[in-house]
């Protein structure tokens, strides 16, 4: 018997919110579609000035609440958030989310780490808290660095700026076997922790008064190593989660990953011998959604009918420059296309 059966954990649905503003490649001063850095992503959403992570979570959560008929005042024992660009330093946004949704969770945890793979780490944390007596958890991922950081006029021309897109994805898990999570695998890789840095041209720290905007720094010399480790981390941990679930990789019906760029998506699919149609992502339309990609792609897979009742869903990814990796296997019997 796996420990998961006592008590069970089910991922029953996900929902998305995407900001209204859509940017095409021309916004970044690039009309040359041959440039490989722009290949793949046609558009991405950007948050509006003043639009907060709390508002984004509220909008996505309201949709999910309608789909699943949730009473937020009663049905959220655990509230987990991950936000790429915080509304406020120090405080996190979980308590504000609880206020706007009208819920009174026993646990509110604002996770600052595990970025692009935070959805898997949230599932793992929810499982631990459900074993400690919680009955349900709302998982909230916000990526809002596109509009807040990469749309800045001084940043737009950077090749990296066209890649991020903003969005919010939320998921709901409950302590029953309705749509069971069969395996969760997580790993930390501290040795890669310092390979991604937030920097500004003037060299000032992010909290210091600065003359220019922030950007993300993957130094040139590390790019080959980061690509190589990213190529390996995700297929490896998805394979590990399959073994834990007692299935083989070929049993996966739908694969959902984080979506840093087209190359990683291709490489993971190839390494897992996965046909393209089974790997559901939104990179062309939404760019790199960081941690929000997984719940948003799960929703897309369910809405378009790729993910149906009885599908084996694999979720896998890595964060930043490889500091965390994680994967989960779900026997999907959750929200499907009939919901919309």
């Amino acid at each position: 018997m796996t420990q998961l059966s006592q008590p069970p954990l089910s991922l029953v649905g996900t929902a998305s919110y995407l900001p209204e503003t859509v940017r095409d490649n021309a916004f970044f001063g690039c009309t040359d579609t041959k440039n490989p850095m722009f290949k793949g992503s046609r558009t991405r959403h950007h948050v509006a000035d003043g639009e907060t992570a709390v508002q984004m979570i509220e909008r996505a959560a309201r949709r999910l609440g309608e789909n699943l008929d949730l009473d937020f005042g009663r049905d959220v024992d655990v509230l987990l958030t991950n936000v790429s660009c915080l509304d406020q330093p120090f405080t996190g946004c979980g308590a504000s989310v609880a206020r706007v949704l009208g819920c009174k969770p026993r646990w509110i945890i604002d996770m600052q780490n595990t970025g692009c793979v935070s959805f898997v780490f949230m599932l793992d944390l929810a499982r631990a808290l459900i074993r400690s007596g919680a009955r349900s958890a709302l998982l909230c991922n916000v990526q809002n660095a596109g509009g807040r950081i990469f749309a800045h006029p001084e940043n737009r021309a950077r090749p990296q700026s066209a890649i991020p897109g903003d969005g919010c994805g939320v998921g709901y898990v409950v302590a029953n076997d309705e749509s069971p999570v069969r395996a969760i695998e997580t790993l930390s890789h501290g040795e890669y922790a310092d390979d991604m840095r937030v920097k500004s041209e003037d060299g000032e720290a992010w909290w210091a008064p600065r003359s220019g905007p922030l950007h993300i720094d993957f130094t040139q010399s590390r790019i080959g190593k980061i690509v190589s480790r990213g190529n390996q981390l995700v297929p490896k941990i998805v394979t590990k989660a399959c073994a834990e679930a007692g299935i083989s990789v070929s049993d996966i019906d739908v694969l959902v990953t984080n979506q840093p760029n087209k190359t990683f998506l291709r490489n993971w699919r190839e390494a897992l011998l996965m046909p393209e149609e089974k790997h559901v992502h939104t990179f062309e339309d939404h760019g790199n959604l960081f941690g929000a990609a997984m719940p948003i792609s799960i929703e897309k897979a369910a809405l378009q009918g790729t993910l149906t009742n009885g599908s084996t869903l694999a979720i896998g990814g890595f964060s930043h420059a490889g500091d965390y990796s994680g994967a989960a296997i779900v026997d999907w019997r959750g929200q499907s296309e009939h919901v919309q």
């Binding site: 440039n35 490989p36 090749p159 080959g224 190589s228 190529n231 291709r266 490489n267 993971w268 390494a271």
Partner: protein, 212 residues
Amino acid sequence: MPSSVDINLIPNVHRFENCPKDEMNALAMDLTHAVYPHDQVYGKYCTLEEYIACPPEAVFEYLSDVHCLAEWTYSMRDFAPTEQDGLYVSLDKIGSATRIFTKVKSVPGAMTVDYHCAWDQGDALWMIYLMRVVPAQLVLNKPGSVVLWTNCKHPHYENNPFPDAAPEGRDLWVGDLWPFFYAGHHVEMQNLKSILEHRHASGEAIRPWVSK
């Protein structure tokens, strides 16, 4: 004589001058996969490399002597000289009664050893095994040798141009084995490594068939 054309304008030439660093990075990412299909890696060429804890001079001396093939190859046996200078005939037991003809062409300075071979006949030696011994001190900063070994897929591997020379009743053609070349050559490379490392470590003669 100066070139009449700017080489940066030649299609498919990527140089610092015509391909900025960002573009080169993106191209490199596109060309770097997590896995590569076997056929893509070994379909047209089959290249292997291995470290051997034995001095490069000894490895070169061993490989340059055609009789070494009777030891480290999986199935080449019973070498005998032919009437033609430097051309040897032996059996390739993987093809039952198949005769294989071999001429060794080695270059001491470059430490290259090429085996020009063919099944069944010795007039056209088209199966060519290209090997090079590199001092490991230079490339790995340690004593010993690195051996590089490449075969190219000559069109004759697809179709036997000398069917009449084959022994009666043999169904197999050497080219049918091309998909197993990496596997077979890997095993043989390990034979080479194991034999030479054993002899060097124990102080035995590298070529025991040569009388002192």
